[in-house]
Amino acid sequence: MNELIFFFNTVLVSGTVLGSIYAIGAIGVTLIFGILRFAHFAHGDMMTMGGFIAFLLAAAFSAMGIVAPVPTGFLVLPIAMVIAAFIALGIDKGFYAPLRKRGAKPVTLLIASIGVTLIIQGLIRLFFGSGSYSFFETETKQLFKIPIPIEGVTRTINFTQPQLLMVVVTVIAVLALHLFLTRSRLGKAMRAMADNADLAQVSGINTKLVVRVTWIIAGALACMAGTMLALDVSLKPDLAFNIVLPIFAAAIVGGLGQAYGAIAGGFLIGFAETLAIFNWAILLRPFKDMVPFALPTDLAVVPTEYKLTVAFVILVIVLLWRPTGIFKGAST
């Protein structure tokens, strides 16, 4: 039973947290792809940038003596998201819109987004150096331990307050997005444009407005994902660089352009990663006295160093099996 709780802590809790981060990041990527038809490589660095903005705001808040029952990182999140949204709009206006106007191919935009990635990376490193920062230098992470009222169980279900809040925030964000896309005029216009950009224009939909809204949402969500990741682990300039690829994998797996697919893909990959590096041998421990032979002590599907490989394996498998993704997004 203790082993099951360990399983719960290591796999389910981590998987949910990681899945939420991937899901939120993937939504932005998939929306940009659906509306603007290019793979926005700089999304990972927009996440990092968002994390740093939140960090600066949190430090400012602490310096001003503002305290709250939630970690300051969450408190400043809405403000950081607004700032990030503005920056995202600026990036589009400065870098991508001029290329789109000249009829650039999706591939050119991808390369331009790589340029943007490097610029953001460079600027962050320039101002912050390359060390890591923590949101929790002045405050502590509240840890929740829930005991299980069953005989002989010594382990508790553990999760931190940031993790709990993350899941809550993710749920709220997903709900808000769902309502926006299905109930509001602008949200439906976004779906229309992702469905058929020419017809959207012909119907009189203000495509420029939709593009702006897309960047606002993508920027805000990227900031959310980056801040959440930094709150869970720590804040480093290359924080999101390792995450870009699983996020793209999540977006592709869920079907490019399909927001709900991105959410599903994010959780799929998040859980797959945690399941793959989990040492399954631990679950077999209670049975070790029942079996006549020695059980293997290390039964992880992949060693921890290969964690990121999991996302790719899933990506390759899904692409081979269903090239348009599970939810049938944009096709090859």
Binding site: R191, A192, A200, I205
Partner: protein, 238 residues
């Protein structure tokens, strides 16, 4: 002053011009039909009006206002609407959502228009929550037209509305177009089914090589032996 007046329009997709001086004028009470052989510039004319390609010279005026090379989303609020030939519905959205998108530019309450469209196309009312992509060809065409009507246009432009439809649906679509016109919407359409379309056209335009060849009422064109021989394939009907 006609509802829409196209004068000596020259334009194309960037290379050699496809339109070499096209002239068309119709009123709000008209059903205007453009026919002609492939490559004549029929669909291109509609696209030129709607700002989907560049007009090099000539003018397009709608209710007296210059609209040459306007952006499509400016034209819809002015009272123009366009139904493209292909990919003319939002396949992943429901029928009702498609219609709502047609009303995007409207700031007022469009529920009466919605009811009117459902009245005009009863099958759509039944299937209003179904995804447009799941409907048959004829029903999709209805959605496409309905979407275009939601903005309460004064002029409805259609690019080959009968394309790919079974004969029964072709008749039905043409019936509906006549009904829409009677309700006060001007019609300008391109058609391959020349004979059938000209039968109810109040103004017909035969284009060839990007220029006007014959102009007249639908009946006149059908009766004209030259037109019949070159474009309608056969003897003129008397």
């Amino acid at each position: 002053m006609s509802l829409i007046e196209i004068k000596d329009v020259v334009g194309g997709y960037g290379g050699a011009p496809i339109l070499n001086g096209v002239n068309i004028a119709i009123e709000q009470s008209d059903i205007g039909v453009i026919v002609g052989p492939n490559g004549a510039g029929k669909s291109t004319t509609l696209k030129a009006i709607f700002g989907l390609l560049k007009v090099d010279s000539g003018s397009i005026a709608f209710a007296g206002e210059e609209i040459t090379n306007s952006l499509p989303d400016r034209l819809v609020p002015k009272g123009l609407s366009f139904v493209p030939q292909e990919k003319n519905v939002f396949t992943s959205m429901s029928v009702e959502e498609n219609l709502e998108m047609g009303a995007f530019t409207r700031k007022d309450d469009f529920s009466t228009t919605l009811d009117w469209v459902y009245d005009m196309f009863p099958p759509l009312l039944e299937k209003r929550h179904q995804k447009a992509g799941e409907l048959s060809g004829g029903q999709r065409q209805m959605v496409a037209m309905g979407r275009a009507l939601m903005s309460q246009p004064r002029l409805l432009m259609l690019d080959e509305p009968s394309a790919g439809l079974s004969p029964r649906y072709v008749l039905e679509i043409f019936d509906q177009i006549v009904k829409v016109n009677k309700a006060g919407v001007g019609i300008l359409m391109v058609e391959q089914n020349a004979r059938q379309a000209l039968a109810f056209a109040s103004k017909g335009f035969v284009l060839a090589n990007g220029q006007n060849r014959f102009t007249g009422t639908g009946a006149e064109l059908i009766a004209d032996p030259d037109v019949a021989k070159s474009f309608l394939g056969g003897e003129a009907k008397r």
